[in-house]
């Protein structure tokens, strides 16, 4: 089976290598590096400690030997670091095709490791160590480098990012924010250092000719080149002008691996301010090389990717580096080296294909004056095209914008990575309907509708009783005495749990779901928590409230016509009585017989009584309805108020906090463009 990049292998070997002999060498190299960092930012050691290191070709092999420490064994013996993975074969599980399927998965993990390296490097620089001379020429009167200044938009974006991280600390775990924190740290660290210099790293696969190009640019064989793979094991720095030492310190490159180019006034002037770093390969079996590369790539201002006709389409280059770094196209050079190995116009074909691949990777190409990566073909061996690169590099360095652009691209990348926790592209918030629905559900829970109807009917009943004919009342009274006591009589007993708990719970759940819909997960969780917290005790509060606000205070209102109606009813009854008495009187012979009037009176009374009652009932409907509605409304409003205070307000506050953060995030992404 094909084993492309096996993560398990990598992990295993990384651990191994840290404990291996090589690690010792690496840290000792480090020590001298941090010393230099010590003196930063005024990075000018005492002249007495700075022996002039003549940057002559003769010195190169010596130092190259330094660089190649760890493979000082006999000829033919492979580097120790290479042997580790091979020797591990027995223990490690099968090499897998797994990585092929999800290369993106593996990358962050290794990136994490590299970032730890960077962190350690920076921590270490803070501890003080005795000064050790640095092998770099520096005039005693070298002016302190002018620190880098970021322009307004970038500064405000960095501020916004810092604020964003601060605002989100309580909601997001530190792992999510780590990358943003790193970018902020790096931006701050870079800002303290020289703005006159541009740190450019030369990266590429093993055998692509990084060191060759490095030497061609420096004009001197600084970095060892050769057929032995991998050649360069540790990064080497070359500084074209003074004051860049602190920058190199930051990369953790020890003093013995720092060089100056051959003295050449013309070239010096052209590349003034350039700090060139020759990196080890990223694709050989020596894992710590890749660690070096990953660590330093995060710290440099610009990168020159060197590819060759054989390796320009390697998956590891494109998937592990170019695609994730596509946003850094403006500070990226892609150089097709070794064109001398290609016959005729094949170089153009390959260059074209390379452009196509870069385009597929999402790397913007700097063609037709647009900002983007510069793609060039050259041959470091024959020197063909190196001049052009030198010219471009000179121009690039002279602009002095690379560091800021790199930081801006970092901020972009960090913002992009944070997008899922800040932006979902959907509208979030508590709509008016959701609020109304919540209030309606709470009203249901306290039974507002039923209470209103009950109040209406009770009032109507009372009105009927008041305005009914006395005979009817008498009959009803009799009826009641015969019948069992009804529900009304149990009223005084205090009710526990008058509010429907399940309805309250459901209402809170629905409203929090509505409110958190369209929010990124952490914020949705926060909203839900706020709602649940608020809903504790809500039911009890509603119980209390229902007991208080159940009915309008005082006696039920009586309309103005009521006494008139009662009087009319009384009058009708009186008419009946009078008519009846009159008739009785006539029958008894007390009175003159006159049938007409008393019968009429009685009939008026008998017909009028129910008529009045009926009229009253019709007339009472309106007030009863009003009374019922009033009762319902009071309960409804009380419940809604309670719900608003306890649940909706905390939820709204949480949403507001999210919106604030969201705006801050918009400020971090460039002018909030393209943020949904």
């Amino acid at each position: 089976m094909t084993a492309v990049t096996d993560h398990d292998h990598t992990d295993h070997m990384e651990r191994l290598d840290h404990t291996g002999e090589y690690a010792g060498d690496y840290t000792s190299g480090f020590d001298s590096g941090l010393t230099a960092a010590d003196s930063a930012p005024d990075a000018v050691p005492e002249p007495a400690h700075a022996p002039v290191h003549a940057p002559a070709p003769g010195a190169a092999p010596d130092s190259a030997g330094d660089a190649a420490q760890g493979r000082d064994g006999t000829e033919g013996e492979p580097p120790a670091d290479l042997a580790h993975p091979a020797a591990e074969t027995e223990n490690v599980p099968h090499a897998r095709v797994r990585e092929q399927r999800e290369p993106a998965d593996g990358d962050p993990a290794t990136a994490e490791d590299a970032w730890d390296d960077g962190l350690i490097a920076r921590r270490v620089t803070e501890t003080s160590k005795p000064a050790v001379p640095v092998l770099e020429t520096r005039g005693p009167g070298a002016p302190a480098p002018v620190p880098l200044a970021y322009d307004g938009p970038l500064r405000s974006r960095l501020d916004a990012l810092r604020e964003l991280v601060g605002l989100s600390r309580t909601r997001l775990d530190s792992h999510t924010l780590a990358e943003a924190g790193r970018v902020l740290d790096e931006a701050a660290a870079r800002r303290r250092l020289s703005g006159q210099h541009t740190v450019v790293a030369i990266a590429g696969a093993t055998g692509s000719g990084k060191s060759q190009l490095f030497n061609a640019l420096a004009g001197v064989a600084i970095s060892e080149t050769g057929v032995r793979r991998p050649t360069t094991a540790a990064p080497i720095a070359c500084t074209w002008s003074d004051g860049g030492a602190a920058l190199v310190d930051r990369l953790g490159i020890p003093g013995r691996l720092r060089r100056r180019p051959v003295h050449n006034p013309e070239a010096d002037a052209q590349l003034r301010g350039l700090v060139l770093i020759d990196l080890p390969d990223h694709d050989s079996a020596a894992v710590q090389h890749r660690e070096h590369v990953d660590r330093i790539l995060k710290l440099v201002d610009a990168v020159i990717w060197v590819v060759d006709p054989e390796k320009y389409a390697d998956a590891v280059l494109h998937e592990r580096y170019l695609r994730p770094m596509a946003g850094h196209a403006e500070v990226m050079f892609v150089i097709l080296n070794q064109t001398d190995r290609l016959p005729g116009d094949a170089a153009d074909l390959v260059l074209h294909d390379l452009r196509r691949l870069l385009d597929d990777d999402g790397v913007a190409l700097g063609e037709f004056g647009e900002p983007g990566a510069t793609v060039l073909a050259l041959s470091a061996l024959t020197g063909d095209g190196v001049g052009e690169l030198r010219e471009m590099l000179g121009q690039f360095v002279a602009e002095r914008g690379a560091a800021a652009r790199r930081i801006a691209a970092d901020v972009d990348a960090a913002a992009d990575r944070l997008r899922p926790v800040y932006a979902t592209g959907r509208r979030a918030g508590l709509s008016e309907e959701a609020r109304d629905e919540f209030a309606a559900r709470l009203a249901d829970a306290v039974g507002a509708t039923a209470a209103g109807e009950a109040a209406e009917r009770a009032w109507l009943r009372n009105a009927n009783r008041a305005c009914g004919t006395p005979w009817l009342r008498l009959w009803r009274w009799h009826q009641k005495r015969a019948d069992a006591p009804t529900g009304r009589l149990q009223r005084p007993q205090p009710e526990e749990e008058a509010t429907a708990r399940q309805r309250v719970e459901q209402a809170v759940r629905t409203v929090s779901d509505r409110a958190s819909a369209g929010l990124p997960a952490p914020w949705a969780q926060a909203v839900r928590e706020a709602a649940v917290r608020g809903s504790q005790g809500l039911s009890e509060a509603l119980d209390e409230l229902a007991a208080q606000a159940g009915l309008p205070p005082g006696r039920p209102p009586r309309p103005g016509w009521w006494p008139v109606a009662v009087f009319a009813q009384a009058a009708m009854t009186l008419l009946q009585v009078v008519g009846g008495l009159w008739l009785v009187g006539q029958i008894a012979g007390f009175m003159a017989p006159n049938l007409g009037i008393p019968v009429l009176l009685m009939i008026a009374g008998i017909v009028g009584g129910p008529l009045v009652e009926w009229g009253c009932r019709m007339a009472a409907r309106g007030p009863a309805r009003r009374y019922g509605l009033e009762a319902e409304r009071r309960l409804r409003e009380a419940a809604a108020g309670c719900g608003r205070a306890r649940v909706l307000d905390p939820v709204a506050a949480e949403l507001l906090r999210y919106r604030e953060v969201r705006e801050q995030y918009g400020r971090v992404t460039r002018a909030g463009a393209g943020v949904g």
């Binding site: 090499a95 050989s284 054989e310 390796k311 590891v316 016959p343 390959v350 306290v446 209470a451 009304r488």
Partner: protein, 535 residues
């Protein structure tokens, strides 16, 4: 010397094992699942493409698969070995997108059928112009195997030019892996610029692990540094425990580069001679076949338990998910029962109605309110259970499987289903009440609806509604009231249980659909042990 004697029982157990492997599924996105899936596919490819056909037909030609990184010159090497252009070579990467198999014309029948690499479509163009478009229209270039014949190759040897093992195109890489699985001899091509790359070393290590017959070619070495590079490479191999590997060095010649030309025969003569020897010398041939086949058989010892372990992990994860659902629904079910007991349904609207009953409220209204309140209680329990399940599942990586998450669309329908169930309960309750009233056979039989309402109140109101029970007893007699209550109570329990059960099943349905069982684990191990016995 190992020989390759094959008994039919071994073949049977092997195909049984193959079926077991093919049946293994890893649908839950656990940490080890992608790896297990890749392992499964790889193992299956090796069994289908190599082991079974090879054991079944030991006389089939030796297949040497040429693999390596992009730009290593694989196609040029194959072309040079064959002596004519059979595979396109060029400067643009990746060059070979369609694998090409070259064999002697008389061996063609071995490869034109689906004996090996059955899932690759064969394309055979006996006499084609070099410039022709090789692909038939509408065919996926990744899943096509071009079969070429050449007289220059000896009988009994076939060469396969595989795509890059580290191609930018993922399909290519997968295909390359699959092709390597089919090889009797792995020819690993690397170059002077690449011999320390991580990727080819992984390939070498894998080959070593499978004890496959392996040969490495150091290609494109500039003349000046041939000896040094070869020495370096040899040292690395020795360090890796591969010192005895047959090693060939091919210099970088102007012809080899970028033109797609052929290397002179002398440049590849040693490699060719070695390959021909392996193919034609019976002893060497048997040895090499046995070595690779036994390597694969041996590797099963480690790989099958790994697959079984992954299957077990899948099942365990599925169990965890299921038990999360079960416990959530169980606890909600218990909560519903206790709330029913305590009369929580008689609250809010229902309580207000009950207070107004019978003066200001009709029996129908009371019953409506109660039924609605009951539905709300059940819906609340179901959504709460779902929420708990979501919470529990959020901590399980396995719950990210497609189709498992996302309960939101079903909420409305849950409400609908619960409404249906509760209304049905009401209807049955009313029927019971009618039965009871009919039995009374009194001149003043009470209204059946009010009886139903009283039963429901007495049942759902818990202790609060003793009075409802009393009134019910007044209407239908103490005995009838008790009977009615019991029947209605049983009916209620039945309906509530059914609702909770249905919702739980609904929640579990997508998980059940994934079909994760404990059997594959045992079956895989069993198949392996049977195979061990047969060997």
């Amino acid at each position: 010397m190992v020989t390759l004697d094959v008994r039919p029982q071994l073949l049977d157990t092997l195909s049984a094992l193959r079926d077991r492997v093919a049946a293994a599924r890893f649908p839950l996105p656990l940490a080890g699942a992608p790896r297990a899936r890749a392992n499964r596919d790889e193992l299956l490819a090796q069994l289908d493409n190599y082991l079974v056909p090879r054991l079944r037909e030991p006389d089939a030609p030796l297949l040497a698969v040429v693999g390596g990184s992009t730009g290593a010159g694989k196609s040029t090497l194959v072309n040079s070995l064959v002596g004519r252009r059979v595979s396109e070579a060029g400067v643009l990467r990746p060059t070979t997108r369609t694998p090409v198999l070259v064999c002697h014309p008389e061996d063609h029948h071995w490869f034109s059928g689906m004996r090996v690499l059955p899932d690759l479509t064969r394309v055979w163009v006996p006499n084609r112009d070099p410039g022709d478009d090789l692909l038939l229209p509408g065919e996926n270039p990744g899943r096509v195997l071009r079969v070429e014949t050449a007289d220059s190759l000896p009988r009994g040897l076939a060469l396969l030019d595989a795509p890059d093992i580290d191609s930018l195109i993922v399909d290519n890489r997968v295909l390359a892996a699959e092709l390597m699985c089919a090889a009797d001899v792995w020819v690993m091509v690397t170059t002077a610029a690449r011999y320390a790359d991580a990727v080819p070393w992984h390939l070498l290590r894998t080959a070593k692990e499978y004890k496959a017959a392996l040969v490495t070619v150091l290609d494109r070495v500039p003349h000046q540094v041939v000896s040094e590079v070869a020495r370096q490479y040899g040292a690395l191999l020795t360090k890796a425990g591969l010192g005895d590997l047959p090693r060939f060095t091919v210099p970088e010649l102007p012809e080899s580069a970028w033109g797609g030309g052929l290397l002179p025969a002398t440049a590849v003569a040693p490699l060719r001679a070695w390959l021909v020897h392996q193919a034609q010398d019976p002893g060497a041939r048997t040895h090499i076949l046995a070595r690779t086949a036994h390597g694969v058989l041996d590797s099963l010892k480690a790989r099958m338990p790994e697959l079984a372990g992954a299957a077990a992990a899948q099942h365990a994860a599925a169990l965890r998910l299921t038990s999360a659902v079960d416990s959530a629904y169980d606890s909600e079910h218990a909560r519903v029962r206790s709330r029913l007991q305590s009369g929580a349904v008689l609250a809010g609207d229902a309580l207000k109605r009950w207070r107004a009953y019978p003066l200001d409220c009709a029996a129908g209204e009371l019953l409506d309110a109660l039924v609605e309140s009951l539905a709300a209680l059940l819906l609340c329990a179901v959504t709460a259970a779902d929420e708990r399940v979501d919470d529990a599942w959020r901590r399980e990586p396995a719950s990210a499987a497609p189709g498992l998450s996302g309960r939101d669309p079903s909420l409305e329908s849950a409400e609908h289903r619960i409404g249906l169930a509760v209304r049905r309960w009401r209807r049955e309750l009313e029927e019971y009440a009618e039965d009871e009233v009919r039995e009374l056979d009194r001149s003043v039989a009470p209204d059946s609806e009010s009886v139903a309402a009283l039963v429901a109140t007495a049942l759902l109101g818990g202790r609060r509604t003793k009075e409802a029970g009393e009134r019910l007893a007044e209407r239908v007699g103490a005995h009838g009231a008790l009977r009615l209550r019991d029947r209605a109570g049983r009916l209620l329990t039945e309906h509530v249980d059914r609702v909770v059960h249905t919702e739980r099943e609904r929640r579990l349905a997508p998980l059940d659909a994934l079909d994760v069982h404990p059997e594959p684990q045992a079956e895989l191990i069993a198949a392996l042990s049977v195979l061990q016995k047969e060997r």
